[in-house]
């Protein structure tokens, strides 16, 4: 009887948690993609002293990767904040990665000092996305699940 009561109570707690989480749990795929796209983007910025046309294939590939992760982030439950961050980073009318690629396209190529300074800014923007993801609660750190496992 006590065991039944315990499991019933546990179930109620789990259901309550499942329905009241205010931000998504940590997602390994989102984290790995963000770090991988960061490396690709910074590598591409190093080439922005060269003509845009010579790098258009790599730029298209990067934009495609960003669109894919943005779609993924946008459709995760309770993940509006991360989706908004990606939206700002990729927006061509803002002055981060999207705006940088737009400027590169319109100017043809960019000067070294500017590209190095912009690289720092874009790197920090990626770090913000990565840091938020890394600080989300890991499924393995979910205290409720751990607590219940301990009682079994």
């Amino acid at each position: 009887m006590r065991k039944v009561r315990f499991y019933f109570l546990s179930l109620v707690v789990l259901v309550a948690f499942a329905s009241c989480r205010s931000i998504a749990l940590f997602d390994q795929y989102a984290y790995v993609e963000a770090t991988s796209i960061k490396v690709d983007a910074l590598h591409l910025i190093d080439h922005s002293v060269e003509p845009y046309s010579e790098n258009s294939k790599e730029i298209d590939a990067l934009n495609l990767k960003i669109e894919k992760i943005f779609e993924y982030e946008k459709h995760r439950t309770n993940n509006e904040t991360s989706a908004q961050l990606w939206s700002l980073l990729k927006n061509p009318d803002k002055n981060l990665l999207g705006g940088y690629l737009k400027k590169w396209q319109s100017d043809g190529k960019l000067n070294k000092a500017f590209s190095q300074e912009a690289k720092v800014q874009i790197s920090e923007a990626f770090d913000i996305i990565i840091e938020l993801e890394s600080k989300k609660i890991k499924p393995s750190d979910d205290v409720v699940v751990n607590f219940l496992n301990k009682q079994k």
Binding site: R2, R5, F6, L9, S10, V13, A16, F17, C20, R21, S22, I23, T81, S82, Q84, L85, L88, L89, K94, N95, L96, G99, K103, N111, A113, F114, E117, A118, V120, Q121, I122, E124, A125, I128, I129, E131, L132, K135, K136, I137, D142, V143, V144, F147, Q151
Partner: protein
């Protein structure tokens, strides 16, 4: 089985208050440190970009682009902080639930 609900509630109130206090104190410390670091970093960048502009290494257009990028970064940072607050809130809620369940189970001697 008769439960001493008032003593359970008193214990819970005390423990939740202590938990809330430590959560808020830790978060405020982190947020203050983070805000200070953004101010210092913006100041350093502004000084560096001004020197590059004066030396002719940056055009006015590039200088303005960088200033606006800092504005966009600050916007991203504010969003990140909002996200971190949600994480802290979820962690706090979880701890409170555990506290409640743990205290009740102990009181009815299931664990």
């Amino acid at each position: 089985m008769a439960f001493a609900f008032s003593s359970i509630l008193d214990e819970l109130k005390k423990e939740i208050a202590a938990l809330a206090k430590s959560t808020v104190t830790n978060y405020l410390k982190e947020a203050k440190k983070d805000a200070q670091s953004i101010i210092e970093s913006s100041q350093e960048k502004l000084e560096r970009w001004t020197k590059l502009l004066e030396s002719g290494s940056l055009t006015v257009n590039e200088f303005e682009w960088l200033i606006n990028s800092q504005k966009d970064l600050i916007q991203m940072d504010a969003l990140k902080k909002a996200g971190l607050s949600k994480i802290k809130a979820d962690q706090f809620k979880e701890s409170v639930f555990i506290l409640i369940v743990d205290t009740i189970l102990k009181a009815i001697k299931i664990i």
